[in-house]
Assembly symmetry: C2
Homo-oligomer: 365 residues x 2
């Protein structure tokens, strides 16, 4: 497990992580079919919920039961620290759910800092009346996604708000990871001439969510791309290439991410539209739904900025990794001109790819 | 600043923290008097909100603008990691507000792990229609509380949910701190014979909240006790006493905290009711409101378990600190009997102090 290798030792009361957990909801559903306000009240019902459902799924080395935080032994060095809240609607969608999104989203924010993700926290805000079975599905999904990503959920918190003051469940995750020596990744390192690489096809997450909301069916189901990307990043770094910047493409999609980077880096970015991978089905669905795949949210895709001469080597490493099979060289950082993103169409026209004012879809993550 | 002393150096793009910030809301309120769904959408309005309001109040060394997380240089050792969500209603109350609570609550969770709090994250879940001025008051309050506690808000996230799917603003904070060498604090270290110390009078936070909700007025205003406790903890540790366990008394109050510890430690706890400090006004308000001060929530009080022979030394250090002026010896850990908390009344009767099933007050923090 990656986490094990990066930590020197775990201290305090060490408790083996429950790697296996029941498929059946451990809270007696006949007695508590729905979340009550009292489940967030600090009393017996809250302790029961934590002890019977949440801690057995999450508890990991370092998470001393009944303590106010986890105490973790970390080797000194650069620690990446990030947080994200998840309010996606619906809670469950093709290819994922809010729990999986909350784990992968924070793992990916750490990964694009160049960090190896180690430890996550989980904060749940539940709405009174939420079906206990639904909560259990979310918790189970978080535990499974954490296990798959090799991170430990070590500390958490649960609150309950009155019916009509929340929306089922909101999840916050914060994450810690260690940045290996020599890795320096960030928008300030982007340079004119850098190659812009994409790790795979765009738009799957947005289309998966919208297809459920709109009740649309496509010939074959389009599933969210939600996935942890730290293994892909590690494979890219192992090429020895000096990776300048990484960014996962979530809210606002490729357009938003590249515009932010162009501005931070003080450079322009030129993309070749024909090189940007978008699946035929997603393209068709986007046309139907009035979405632009370049603005559509993804949950398992990243853009990378690497020196031009390293592009083939990094691309080969990406394509050899399960999370980067569809990787492509899509553009280049340029010196001249304003700090904007320009897209060259297959017939040679150039348009500016701006960020939208709001967004195509609220509550996409 | 404590954070500076505990970190070796801060890397990446270093940006001085905005210690001074305007009292005026920096988002043009005439154009955007209320939060829109688009403010959470990843587009231009979200960037404007972040750049004009949130980042200037929070930005700190290590928080590279436009990056997905903060990269922080930490000396190796034991890192405490914790998270808490805040859903308190109303958002503003005598003595505090949700922003101050969110900073102090996480600072205190770190403090009672024995850690020196260093870095915090902030995750905001906003309801569409929230007055921009209200958001600004919360953000400003978080920045001020972080400054007072000597911690840096280094990374954050903002989401917006539709009107009626949230309740103004929910705040999640996660925190990182370093546990000094030699400090080992946790319920597993509690021993029969340990003295139980309280840092001050109970019940202020619960009464402050309830007085607003119920529209009650008392002779003099009872304000929340919300405060950061890490300075107090440091003063206690500096006595050289082997502090066994610390716990801040939030949801469920003293009763919940001590019952958890009795169970984790496998010991009984005996309290002297007459020794437990409760202000006269709070006691009167509790009688009026049907609250038990021993179950009432606090946001700036802790219980400490120290070896019996160290009690005077630690108590003196607590009373010499502004956050521990009202500290008192209130009880003792006993071997015999079940793992429960017993309270001896002034006339000699003994009752079991149990946890409540739910809670006296929903959304107290």
């Amino acid at each position: 497990m990656m986490a094990g290798r990066m930590t020197r030792a775990l201290i305090e009361q060490v408790k083996p992580m429950s790697r296996e957990f029941s498929l059946e909801c451990p809270v007696p559903i006949d007695r508590y079919p729905r979340v009550l306000l009292a489940h967030g009240g600090g009393g017996r019902l809250m302790h029961q919920l934590l002890e019977e459902m949440i801690l057995p799924a999450f508890a990991a080395p370092g998470a001393e039961e009944g303590h106010d935080g986890a105490v973790l032994e970390l080797a000194g060095g650069r620690v990446a620290f990030t947080t994200d809240s998840f309010v996606v609607r619906p809670l469950f969608f093709p290819g994922g759910d809010i729990g999986r999104l909350a784990i992968n989203g924070t793992v990916n924010d750490l990964a694009v800092c160049g960090a190896r993700p180690l430890f996550l926290s989980a904060g749940l805000i539940l709405e009174e009346g939420l079906a206990m079975e639904t909560l259990w599905r979310v918790v189970r999904s978080m535990a499974a996604a954490a296990r798959e990503a090799g991170v430990d959920l070590v500390t958490g918190d649960t609150k309950v708000v009155e019916r009509g003051k929340g929306d089922g469940v909101f999840v916050n995750t914060a994450g810690l990871g260690l940045v290996p020596d020599g890795v320096r990744i960030g928008p300030a390192r982007v340079r004119p001439g850098d190659a812009v690489l994409l790790s795979g096809d765009l738009g799957r997450h947005a289309v998966a969510i919208l297809s459920v909301r709109e009740g649309l069916e496509f010939e074959s189901e389009i599933t969210s791309d939600t996935a942890p990307l730290h293994g892909l990043v590690q494979a890219m770094l192992e090429t020895g290439a000096d990776v300048h910047c990484l960014r996962d493409l979530t809210r606002g999609g490729l357009a938003s991410a590249l515009n932010e980077i162009a501005r931070s880096a003080g450079a322009g970015i030129e993309l070749e539209e024909a090189a940007i991978p978008v699946g035929d089905e997603v393209r068709g669905a986007c046309e139907l739904l009035g979405l632009d795949p370049l603005h559509a949210a993804n949950e398992g895709r990243l853009a990378a900025f690497v020196p031009w001469e390293a592009r083939e080597k990094v691309l080969a490493a990406m394509r050899a990794h399960p999370m980067g099979r569809g990787a492509a060289l899509v553009g280049r950082v340029v010196e001249e001109g304003p700090r904007e993103v320009r897209v060259r169409s297959p017939i040679g026209g150039v348009r500016v790819l701006d960020v939208l004012s709001g967004e195509q879809l609220p509550r996409i993550c």
